[in-house]
């Protein structure tokens, strides 16, 4: 049970071009990979994964539309409506873990990585270009091995995070791959995990309305991203034939990736 609650923004941190983290206190227990429904009165309500799960909690927002633009314009002292946390997050256990974050996806992975022993975690952080890279320092704090890829080669490896992950998996046996990022990236990474026979947990995204498992708008092959997800295991991903193929818009119409 989680009713609407108002929270006050305590801090706004500019992370990169068009990416900000909003910190606020909320006395509800949140787990790595869970999300909140964030209400910006008069504009919209959107699901946001938590980038910090301890108080002050945080969400990291990339400006992509009206709601995220509004969130990025907020200042300390402004208020937001929240409900949640919702969903099933990462189930982290020790062993060699590779975290692969594409774009803003890294924000979702960090609370999971921070729950693990530093020496067991490796990171691949991918972005289009250097100025869009976020949380590199924070990743280095919870990992001895952080590698970076940019599509344009402005920082680190020139290419995709998946290409870099393939290299890492060639050199080391991982027990699990945790990932969050654009779905075309995730499906390639999923195929890689199958090739190397590595367990994985990916955080997926779908158009979401109710957030509590009744409207069905976020369903992938009948699995609700807001309840059974947003984090899915390798076996579950295997059964989601829509994964990597199409998502749905607000009307429920299929949109190919």
């Amino acid at each position: 049970m989680s009713y609407h609650r108002a929270v006050t923004i305590e801090e706004v941190i500019a992370e990169a071009d068009g990416v900000k983290t909003l910190r606020f206190s909320l006395r509800r227990k949140c787990l790595p990979g869970q999300f909140l429904m964030i209400w910006i009165p008069g504009i919209d309500e959107i699901p946001m994964s938590l980038s910090y799960i301890e108080n002050p909690k945080g969400i990291t927002v990339k400006e992509v539309g009206e709601a995220t633009r509004a969130l990025c314009s907020l200042r300390p002292g402004d208020r937001l409506g929240v409900r949640g946390p919702y969903g099933r997050g990462f189930s982290v256990s020790n062993g060699n873990v590779l975290c692969v974050g594409g774009g803003n996806g890294i924000a979702t992975l960090l609370p999971a990585a921070e729950a693990l022993k530093r020496e067991l975690v490796d990171f691949v952080i991918g972005a289009k270009t250097e100025t869009e890279l976020v949380f590199v320092k924070r990743a280095k704090k919870c990992s001895n091995h952080v590698v970076i890829s940019t599509d344009d080669g402005t920082k680190g490896f020139k290419g995709t995070a998946v290409e870099l992950a393939a290299e890492m998996m060639d050199n080391k046996k991982y027990d699990a791959v945790l990932a969050c990022g654009p779905e075309p990236m995730l499906i390639q990474l999923f195929n890689l995990c199958k090739k190397y026979n590595v367990d994985c947990q990916f955080s997926l995204e779908r158009f979401m309305k109710c957030g509590i498992g009744i409207c069905g708008s976020c369903a992938i092959n009948g699995k609700r991203v807001c309840i059974e997800g947003p984090v899915f295991s390798r076996n579950e991903l295997e059964s989601l034939v829509e994964f990597g193929k199409f998502r749905r818009d607000a009307s429920g119409a299929r949109i190919t990736f």
Partner: protein
């Protein structure tokens, strides 16, 4: 051997529980999941002629005893929805196509399309409490409802059920209009028009301001409506509104429902709610010495 089988005119259900419209029934994957979870039938999300995005969020509020939603009839449109029906038809239980429209012609058009897609019956959404020009706005007029049902009955062969709104003093008149126009049953009730205000932001929470209340809060209203309808109608009643447990289901059956729909309960109970209600019904019938569902339908009317 206890039978949970129930009949709505010539539509036979292996058990009386259906997934209510708008709950997880927008996509084939969810329809199949509900069927696999023991639902006796699945009612689709309400589908219109053209795609609708619905209202902006917030579209749902969670309260102590229920939920208020104003989704705004989002749906991909009847043409696109054909894919979802096609992918769902093998699910093993009847699929009931829910449709909404602004007049009888559009209803007939949608009904024929649904029939072509292969649904087992139609449910007419005459009761959505928050969409301008649709649902309740036309569903409170016995005359308009009669026209719609009669036109559809002329055009399709499959059974036609009308989903009624409780937001009227003319519930019985509307239901009678359905019966007189040849409708095969009524579904009662849709959500109760409602609102919730954020005291922090000093404004209604839903983007649409108004929405429809569902869940345990409305069960006594649903029971009362079904009870009244049972006295007034010959055609079967499908009871819906706040059913979460087998006891709720029994109450609706005793009030006069021949079948039941379950919606919001999926939030707390998951899709397991269908099996749990059916198991409870079986145990109850056995304990009370009944052998079939229809033996308790309307029994609460006999004692007064």
């Amino acid at each position: 051997m206890i039978s949970l089988q129930t009949k709505l005119k010539n539509l036979v259900l292996s058990n009386p529980t259906m997934l209510a419209s708008g709950i997880l029934s927008e996509t084939s994957g969810s329809i199949i999941a509900a069927a696999n979870s023991g639902a006796g039938a699945v009612v689709t999300k309400s589908i219109g002629s053209v795609p609708r995005m619905g209202y902006p969020n917030p579209t749902l509020i969670e309260l102590k005893f229920g939920y208020i939603n104003a989704m705004g009839l989002p749906n991909p449109g009847i043409d696109e929805f054909g894919k979802e029906i096609k992918d769902s038809l093998g699910c093993g239980v009847p699929i009931i196509g829910s449709i909404f429209a602004s007049d009888e012609k559009e209803f007939a058009y949608l009904g024929k399309k649904m029939e072509e897609y292969g649904v087992a019956a139609l449910e007419l959404n005459l009761s959505c409490p928050h969409a301008k020009g649709y649902g309740m706005e036309i569903g409170i007029s016995p005359e308009i409802v009669g026209k719609i049902v009669s036109k559809i009955k002329d055009e399709v062969q499959i059974p036609v059920f009308a989903k009624l709104t409780p937001n009227t003093h003319q519930l019985i008149e509307v239901a009678k209009a359905v019966e007189e126009a040849g409708g095969d049953g009524v579904v009662a009730i849709n959500t109760v028009k409602a609102m919730s205000i954020s005291i922090d932001f000093k404004r209604p929470i839903l983007a649409n301001r108004y929405g429809g209340l569902s869940g345990p809060a409305i069960k006594p209203i649903g029971i009362r409506c079904v009870y009244e309808l049972y006295d007034a109608l010959e055609i079967p009643i499908i009871g819906v509104g706040g059913i979460e447990t087998w006891q709720d289901a029994v109450e609706y059956l005793m009030a006069g429902a021949t079948a039941l729909q379950i919606g919001s309960a999926v939030r707390k109970k998951g899709l397991g709610v269908f099996r749990s209600i059916n198991n409870g019904l079986t145990r109850f019938l056995e304990k009370e010495g009944y052998s079939a569902i229809n033996e308790i339908v309307g029994v609460a009317h006999e004692l007064s």
